[in-house]
């Protein structure tokens, strides 16, 4: 019965990954809070991680699993730097709403 509702094929997992990526991308486009945009960026990274693991599982290799560690490391470093920038920006502008951060407007 599980296999009827959740087909255990590669396409399903890759499809899920694509959907998660699209949601993350849309979030980056649309959301106004910088922290939420950041969360959506993380969602995109996680979606690509899921795709890697699915390929690794269905091809029987360890390469995808190993790559997950790399992705997580990069994500962590990126978050550290990015949050530092956001904090500095908040201190300067007293806001993290993206539509109010338009000092570079002509």
């Amino acid at each position: 019965m599980n296999s009827l509702i959740f087909p255990e094929t590669l396409n399903a997992y890759v499809g899920l990954s694509a959907v998660l990526f699209a949601i993350g991308f849309l979030g980056v486009l649309v959301r106004r809070n910088t922290l939420v945009i950041y969360m959506c960026l993380e969602l995109m990274l996680v979606a690509s991680t899921l795709a890697f693991v699915a390929f690794s599982r269905f091809n029987g290799t360890m390469d995808g699993n190993v790559f997950v560690f790399f992705i997580l490391t990069v994500a962590a470093a990126e978050v550290a730097v990015g949050l530092a920038i956001i904090v500095a920006l908040f201190r300067l502008r007293q806001t993290v709403q993206v539509d109010r951060l338009d000092a570079l407007k002509h």
Binding site: L29, V30, D99, A103, H106
Partner: protein, 624 residues
């Protein structure tokens, strides 16, 4: 000293003087005047040495060479140039000395003398030039000097307008002149005068009717022939010594000198046209001179008339004379007659103008002859020399003008009887208006306050008058001229036999007729006897005089001004508006558009990022 170097020194000395005055001596009028007079003395010395020392040379240096066009700078010093240089030097010195006295109270004396020096530089350049391009450059410089000097009292509107008119009308003639030079260069491959002479005698020159007629356009402008004569009467707004030097003796004679220089290019039809224009000018100007009130205007129209004589003499030189190839014969007689009259005219016309300057100075700048009178007793020297000048111009026997006019009438009698009749009638009018002037200025009772207190102007005003009077008396005797000028004056025509008697009789009779009519008709009075006695004739003559100016004014106002407005519209709206500002506007709009992309909002940039990714994807999959 090498003659060509002396010639170069003669040319550059007045230029250096003018430059020095312009740079350092603007306020020091006396020093500038002395320097300018010294230069004039130097020029006379140099000219005398060159002319009388029998130096005849040509020297040339290439100045400009652009893709086949060669313009050189050089001197061609033959008998003709020697004669003209001598005239310019002598009359120039007389005018310089006269100006010392006449302009002694003028605050802008330095500028005046600088202008005189620039004029001497330009005129010597015209005289010595060995090719037509160089002559044209100095021709324009002479026009500029004329503008500068007419414009001496530029604070008043009349001299400013007169100088502009002189320059613009001259420019119209110079346009034809330049076209002629270009055509000559194109047809003959050279504009060098001696090369053209060589080509002409070898028979290889190209003869067309256009070239001499176009070159004559320059003479029409510069020597004030009809229809471009309108600037000369107005040019009397300049100081009187300027009128004497430039507009009587030298600059206006430059046109005739140029014709004599290019006589090898003449053809029969061109000479007919030249003679016709000259005769028409002589007659027209004589009619206009009869009704003038201003002493200088009478002399100006008289100058126009005499210039017409000279041009007609040149044109007559070869009418009817054709050699076996059908080409007009070398017109030595025309050149001789024209240059002889030019020489005597320079003497007596400069004398008359300087006398009028003396009269104007003595009457405290009164120029209306109907407000003068009784000056014979008050200004004795001026009266005597003025009488000599009048005698010379009307052709009294034994004076200079008699011989030169006789030569022209003799030439006309043998070549073209119609021109002879016209010139003889003009001589009647000449005697009429000159004796009228003489009577009204010097005789009767003084008719104004200024005239009753008239006085002579001093030595510097008197000495040049005496010198020029001597030339006016003895200038007609060809045997007194140095042999150096034989190349020109040896060709002066003389009638022979029965023709001689007829011409002599005609000269005497026109003189007696004109002078007698003037003496009988014009009593010294405060009003013009012609205006009182024959008002219709007077009005007709005045209308004749003003006709050309009226036509030109109409043309400028109605035709040229409208064309100028159209062009102005095209310039302002089309070129400046659409093309220039339009291009700037388009660039500005593009900038505005590009600026609108920078919203400063991160979401916008992310959308652009998405668009960029989409384009890249389309490229990658091969759709684009």
């Amino acid at each position: 000293m090498i003659p060509s170097h002396l010639a170069f020194l003669l040319l550059s000395l007045p230029l250096a003087t003018a430059g020095l005055i312009a740079v350092c001596l603007r306020r020091q009028g006396a020093v500038a005047a002395a320097l300018s007079v010294a230069t004039a003395v130097g020029i006379l010395a140099g000219a005398a040495w060159l002319a009388l020392g029998d130096f005849r040379f040509e020297a040339s240096r290439e100045w400009l060479s652009i893709a086949g066009l060669r313009v050189s700078f050089g001197f061609n010093f033959n008998d003709l140039a020697a004669l003209m240089l001598a005239i310019v030097a002598v009359v120039g010195l007389c005018v310089h000395v006269f100006s010392l006295g006449y302009m002694r109270d003028d605050p802008a004396r330095a500028r005046y003398f600088a202008g005189l020096s620039i004029f001497m530089f330009s005129m010597i350049g015209v005289v010595l030039a060995d090719n037509l391009f160089m002559m044209f450059i100095f021709w324009e410089l002479v026009g500029f000097s004329s503008w500068l000097l007419i414009n001496h009292w530029f604070e008043r509107p009349a001299p400013a307008a007169a100088s502009k008119k002189a320059f613009i009308v001259n420019r119209v003639g110079d346009f034809g002149f330049l076209l002629g030079i270009i055509m000559c260069y194109h047809s003959n491959g050279t504009v060098n005068l001696s090369d053209l002479a060589v080509q002409a005698s070898a028979g290889t020159a190209v003869y067309s009717r256009a070239i001499p007629l176009l070159l004559f356009c320059g003479a029409i402008g510069k020597s004030a022939q009809v229809p471009l004569h309108v600037w000369l009467p107005d040019a009397m707004e300049g100081p009187t010594p300027v009128s004497a030097l430039i507009h009587a003796a030298t600059m206006v004679a430059a046109g005739i000198y140029m014709l004599c220089r290019v006589e090898m290019l003449m053809v029969h039809e061109a000479l007919l046209v030249i003679a016709a224009v000259g005769t028409a000018t002589a007659l027209y100007a004589a009619f206009c001179a009869v009704v003038q009130r201003d002493i200088k205007r009478v002399l100006a129209y008289s100058t126009l008339s005499q210039l017409g004589y000279m041009v007609a003499a040149f044109g007559l030189g070869s009418i009817g004379g054709v050699d076996e190839n059908g080409r007009a014969l070398v017109i030595g007689a025309g050149v001789g007659a024209a240059m002889f009259h030019l020489t005597t005219h320079a003497a007596f016309k400069a004398l008359l103008f300087l006398c009028s300057g003396s009269v104007i100075y003595g009457c405290h700048h009164e120029q209306d002859i109907f407000k003068m009178g009784g000056l014979a007793g008050r200004m004795k020297l001026t009266f005597v020399v003025f009488t000599i000048g009048v005698a010379a111009i009307i052709g009294m026997p034994f004076f200079a003008g008699f011989f030169s006019k006789d030569a022209i009438l003799a030439l006309a009698f043998t070549r073209n009887k119609a021109v002879f009749a016209a010139l003889a009638f003009t001589a009647v009018l000449t005697a009429l208006y000159m004796v009228r002037l003489w009577r009204l200025v010097f005789f009767g009772a003084p008719r104004s306050e200024a005239a009753s207190h008239a006085h002579e102007g001093g030595f510097t005003l008197a000495a040049p008058l005496v010198v020029l009077a001597v030339f006016s008396v003895f200038g007609g005797y060809l045997s007194l001229y140095p042999h150096a000028f034989h190349g020109v004056l040896g060709n002066v025509p003389e009638a022979a036999g029965a023709a001689h008697a007829i011409v002599f009789a005609t000269s005497l009779s026109v003189l007696i007729l004109g002078a007698g009519a003037a003496i009988a008709f014009y009593k010294p009075a405060a009003t013009d006897a012609l205006e009182q006695g024959m008002p219709a004739v007077f009005a007709g003559l005045v209308a004749l005089q003003e006709s050309f100016d009226a036509f030109y004014t109409w043309y400028v106002d109605k035709v040229q001004q409208r064309l100028a407005m159209v062009l102005n519209f095209i310039d302002v709206v089309g070129i400046a508006g659409l093309v220039v500002r339009g291009t700037a506007g388009v660039a500005g709009l593009a900038g505005l558009g590009a600026r609108a992309l920078h919203t400063g909002r991160i979401s916008t940039y992310v959308y652009w990022f998405l668009a960029g990714v989409a384009v890249l994807w389309l490229f990658a999959t091969g759709v684009l």
